[in-house]
C-alpha cells in the first residue's frame, strides 16, 4: 500500500500551497480526486493483469515476426521508416499473421472499460458518494477527476507497452528508430489514448446510469464484443440490405452500395481508429478508400511511394476529429446525467 500513498502525495503538496488561495479560487478538487483514483488504479489487480495480458499479447507477435522483419531490414538501405514500424504492423506467418496493432485494437477498449465501469456506481454502493460530495468540491470534480485518472492510467500503460516493444526491437534486431518513426509512434500513441478515452467515457456513462457495477461491466464488455468482433460484419450486412446489389447490378449501383458500406463503417469508432493507425503507422498507405481485409492491396497497385507524416495525418484528420467528437459527446452525456442525478439511491 506504499505505492498509492506515494503517488497521492504530489497533488497533496499542490493542494497545500493552494490552500491559502482556496478561499478565493474555485476548488481544485478534481486534482485530489484524480490523484486518489490514479493511486487506486495503479495499485489494483486489474491494472496489473491488463498490463501483463496486453504486454504479452503485443510482444508475442513481434517476437515471432522478428525473423521476417530482419529479412525486410536486410533488403532496405538507409533509414527506411518501414523497418521500425514493422515491429508494430507486421504479422508473422507463424503467428497467423496477426500484427501487434491488431491485438491492441482489440484490447484497448477493454482497458478503457476496465477503468471506468465502476467509477460512479461503486462510490454509490459503497456509501462514499454522499460523504465525498459533502466535502467542498463541485460535483463535476468527481467525474472529471475520474476521467482524468482513467486517461492517465491508459497513457502509462501504452507508454510502457511502446517502450517495451521499442527496446526489444533495438536489442533483438538492432533497429534504431528514426525521428520520424518516433513521431509516427507518438501519433499512434495519441490516437490509441483517444480511442481508449472513448471507451472510458462510455464506461463512465454506464457507471452513472447503471447502479450495479457487475451489470455495468457486463453491458460494457458486451458492447465491446459487438463492436470489435461482429461490428464491421453487421454494418456490411446492414449496408447490403439497404443497397442490395446482385451480379447484374450496374457499376454505379455497385459503387453506391460500396460507399454506403464505407459510410456505415466509419460510424464505428473501431473503424475510425483502425483508419488512423493504418495511415500513421504505414507511410505507404496513400488512400483509405479500400478498408476491407487486404491491408496493402491499394498500395500495391500504385507506384510505391511513402507519405510524409503530415500527409498521413492529413489523410486521417477527419477520422481523428470524429473520434474526438464521439469521446466528447459520450463524456458530456455522462457529465450531465451525473450532475442531474440524486445523491441518494
Amino acid at each position: 500500500m506504499a505505492a498509492p500513498t506515494e503517488t497521492a502525495e504530489t497533488p497533496a503538496r499542490k493542494t497545500r500551497t493552494e490552500s491559502r488561495r482556496s478561499e478565493r479560487a474555485p476548488s481544485g478538487g478534481w486534482r485530489t480526486i484524480a490523484a486518489k483514483e490514479l493511486a487506486d488504479h495503479i495499485a489494483s489487480w486489474r491494472f496489473l493483469v491488463l498490463l501483463i495480458v496486453i504486454a504479452g499479447l503485443s510482444i508475442l507477435p513481434m517476437y515471432f515476426s522478428s525473423n521476417d522483419i530482419a529479412g525486410i531490414a536486410s533488403q532496405t538501405t538507409g533509414s527506411n521508416p518501414l523497418v521500425f514500424l514493422a515491429l508494430f504492423t507486421h504479422g508473422a506467418s507463424s503467428f497467423n499473421s496477426i500484427p501487434m496493432i491488431a491485438l491492441v485494437v482489440l484490447l484497448v477498449p477493454l482497458v478503457g472499460i476496465a477503468f471506468g465501469f465502476d467509477g460512479i456506481n461503486s462510490e454509490r454502493s459503497q456509501g462514499t458518494l454522499s460523504r465525498l460530495l459533502a466535502q467542498p468540491v463541485h460535483r463535476d470534480d468527481v467525474i472529471n477527476g475520474k476521467f482524468v485518472a482513467g486517461i492517465t492510467v491508459i497513457v502509462v500503460m501504452m507508454i510502457t507497452l511502446i517502450l517495451l516493444v521499442t527496446s526489444i526491437g533495438i536489442l533483438r534486431l538492432g533497429i534504431i528508430p528514426t525521428g520520424e518513426d518516433m513521431a509516427r509512434v507518438g501519433v499512434w500513441l495519441l490516437t490509441t489514448v483517444l480511442y481508449a478515452s472513448f471507451w472510458l467515457a462510455f464506461s463512465l456513462l454506464l457507471s452513472v446510469i447503471i447502479r450495479s457495477t457487475a451489470t455495468a461491466a457486463l453491458v460494457g464488455f458486451g458492447v465491446w464484443l459487438a463492436v470489435s468482433v461482429v461490428g464491421s460484419f453487421l454494418i456490411k450486412v446492414a449496408a447490403g440490405l439497404l443497397f442490395p446489389i446482385d451480379t447484374t447490378a450496374s457499376v454505379q449501383a455497385q459503387i453506391g452500395s460500396y460507399s454506403a458500406q464505407q459510410f456505415f463503417l466509419r460510424l464505428s469508432p473501431a473503424q475510425l481508429y483502425q483508419d488512423v493507425i493504418r495511415a500513421t503507422l504505414d507511410p505507404s498507405t496513400t488512400t483509405l478508400f479500400v478498408t476491407s481485409s487486404g491491408q496493402n492491396t491499394s498500395a500495391q497497385q500504385q507506384i510505391p511511394s511513402l507519405l510524409t507524416l503530415d500527409q498521413s495525418i492529413l489523410l486521417v484528420w477527419p477520422q481523428f476529429v470524429a473520434l474526438v467528437a464521439l469521446t466528447v459527446l459520450l463524456f458530456a452525456v455522462a457529465y450531465v446525467l451525473f450532475l442531474r442525478q440524486e445523491v441518494r439511491a
Binding site: E18, I33, P136, H138
Partner: protein, 413 residues
C-alpha cells in the same frame, strides 16, 4: 456549463449578485424594511432565490439550469392569487441573530410525492437539535437540502447565513456531515480515508496528520487506524464517520441516523462520544433519528417529523407540557395500590385516580398540573412509601406516539 457554477470566492454579502433576469420586480418589494438581523438583511443582496420561478432552479452544484419543462417546481398559475408569494426577506424577517440553520417554507417534491412540506426550522448556535421521525418522513431529504446536495422545490434555506444551493462550497467547508449508512473506501485504511477528506478540504499534510491523530484518539480508533476500512465493524465505521465529519473543523455538524444498526452497547458508547465532542468542539448539531432514546439524552430541542411535515418542535419538557392540560403520574406504593386513592385525591389539583391497565401495583393519577412533589409528601405523611413515580408524557416514546400518528415504523406512503 462549468463557467456558470457558483464561485465561492465571491463575497457572500454586500455585493449585488443579481441574476440576469428581467423580472426583478417580483422580489424587489420590502428589501429595506427588514429587521436588523444579519441573515435577513443580507439575503436580498444575494439575489433571493425565488423558488416558484422555474428559471431560477439550480442544480446541485449551483449551476443555473433553465428547466421550463419542470412544471412541478412552479405552482400552477391559478394558485397564485390564493397564496401570496413572500419574498426571501419577508420569510427571513423573524430569524434570530444567532441562527445557524434556517429553513422557511422549505418544500421538496419528487414528482407527485412531497418529501418535505413547508418546513420552518430555526437552529441557533450551540444547539443540539434532534429531528425525529419514522423512516421516509423526509429527514434525509431535509439534510441533503441543507448541504446543497439536493435543490429545494420551494422555500428558503440558510446555513451559516449562506444559501447552500448557490454557495455549496462555502457551506460545505463549514458543515461536517455524517451520512446515513456512511461508507469508506475499503481498500484504504481508516487513516488514509481521513487523509483523503482532509486533502479535499485543502488542509495541508502536516496539519491534517496532526488533526487526524487527535480525532482518531477521540473516537478511540487509534489501534484500528491503519487497518483497512473494509475490516471495520459497523460501530467502528460510524465512529470513523464522525471523525471524518470533524476533520474539516466544522462549526456545524449534521448527523443522519448516527446510531442506526449499531448494537446497544455501541450506541451508548457513540452517544457519550457525541456528547463529549459536541461540548469540546462547541458545535451546532442537527441529528436525525428514528431511535428515540438517544435524542432524549443528547438534544436540547427536538422536532417531530411526519409525512414531510414538522408536527411539533421545542424542548422536550415543553413538548411534554404543551399538548395536554392534564398531567399523568404513575405512582406505586408499598402496600395496597388502592390505598393511594384517598391520599392522592386529597392533594390539590388531582382530578382522578385510576388503576393502570397493565401493571397491577401502579395507579395513574391525573392532575391539572404537576403534583409530584405534594403527592410524594402526602404519601410519605400517610406512611405509604413510594416505590414508583413517573410522569407520563416526558418519555419520548409517548410524545412520539402522540405527535406521529402513523407510529414508529409507519411509512408515509
Amino acid at each position: 456549463m462549468t463557467d456558470d457554477r457558483t464561485n465561492p470566492s465571491e463575497p457572500p454579502r454586500g455585493v449585488q449578485r443579481r441574476r440576469p433576469r428581467p423580472t426583478v420586480g417580483l422580489n424587489a418589494k420590502p428589501r429595506s424594511a427588514t429587521g436588523p438581523t444579519h441573515t435577513a438583511a443580507a439575503a436580498p443582496a444575494r439575489a433571493p432565490h425565488d423558488p416558484s420561478d422555474p428559471e431560477t432552479d439550480l442544480t446541485d452544484d449551483g449551476i443555473a439550469a433553465v428547466r421550463p419543462w419542470d412544471v412541478e417546481a412552479a405552482p400552477a398559475p391559478e394558485d397564485k392569487p390564493k397564496r401570496r408569494r413572500r419574498t426571501v426577506a419577508e420569510l427571513l424577517a423573524d430569524v434570530p441573530e444567532d441562527a445557524v440553520i434556517v429553513t422557511r417554507r422549505l418544500t421538496k417534491k419528487y414528482g407527485e410525492f412531497t418529501a418535505v412540506d413547508s418546513l420552518d426550522l430555526t437552529i441557533r448556535r450551540g444547539e443540539v437539535f434532534g429531528l425525529l421521525g419514522p423512516n421516509g418522513a423526509g429527514k434525509t431529504t431535509t439534510v441533503l437540502m441543507l448541504l446543497g446536495l439536493t435543490e429545494p422545490t420551494r422555500g428558503v434555506v440558510r446555513v451559516i447565513g449562506l444559501d447552500p444551493t448557490r454557495e455549496p462550497l462555502a457551506v460545505k467547508r463549514q458543515v461536517g456531515y455524517l451520512p446515513d449508512n456512511v461508507g469508506f473506501y475499503g481498500g484504504m485504511t481508516g487513516r488514509e480515508n481521513l487523509r483523503y477528506t482532509a486533502r479535499l478540504n485543502g488542509i495541508g499534510r502536516r496539519a491534517a496528520d496532526a488533526r487526524i491523530d487527535e480525532l482518531l484518539g477521540e473516537v478511540r480508533l487509534e489501534d484500528a487506524a491503519d487497518k483497512k476500512a473494509e475490516t471495520y465493524s459497523r460501530g467502528m465505521r460510524q465512529r470513523l464517520g464522525i471523525a471524518d465529519a470533524l476533520v474539516k473543523s466544522p462549526t456545524v455538524l449534521i448527523l443522519d441516523e448516527p446510531t442506526i444498526a449499531i448494537d446497544p452497547a455501541g450506541v451508548e458508547e457513540l452517544l457519550s462520544l457525541l456528547r463529549r465532542l459536541v461540548r469540546e468542539h462547541n458545535l451546532t448539531v442537527m441529528l436525525s433519528s428514528h431511535i428515540l432514546g438517544q435524542v432524549q439524552s443528547l438534544c436540547d430541542r427536538v422536532g417531530f417529523y411526519s409525512a414531510g411535515k414538522l408536527v411539533a418542535s421545542g424542548p422536550l419538557d415543553e413538548l411534554a407540557a404543551g399538548s395536554d392540560a392534564a398531567v399523568e403520574l404513575e405512582v406505586g406504593v408499598e402496600g395496597p395500590p388502592a390505598s393511594i386513592d384517598a391520599v392522592a385525591l386529597a392533594v390539590p389539583g388531582v382530578t382522578k385516580v385510576v388503576p393502570d391497565d397493565r401493571l397491577d401495583h401502579i395507579r395513574i393519577v391525573y392532575a391539572s398540573h404537576d403534583v409530584a412533589a405534594p403527592l410524594a409528601t402526602a404519601l410519605a405523611a400517610a406512611n405509604l412509601p413510594m416505590t414508583h413515580l413517573r410522569r407520563r408524557g416526558t418519555d419520548l416514546l409517548e410524545l412520539y406516539r402522540r405527535y406521529v400518528p402513523e407510529g414508529l415504523d409507519g411509512r408515509t406512503h
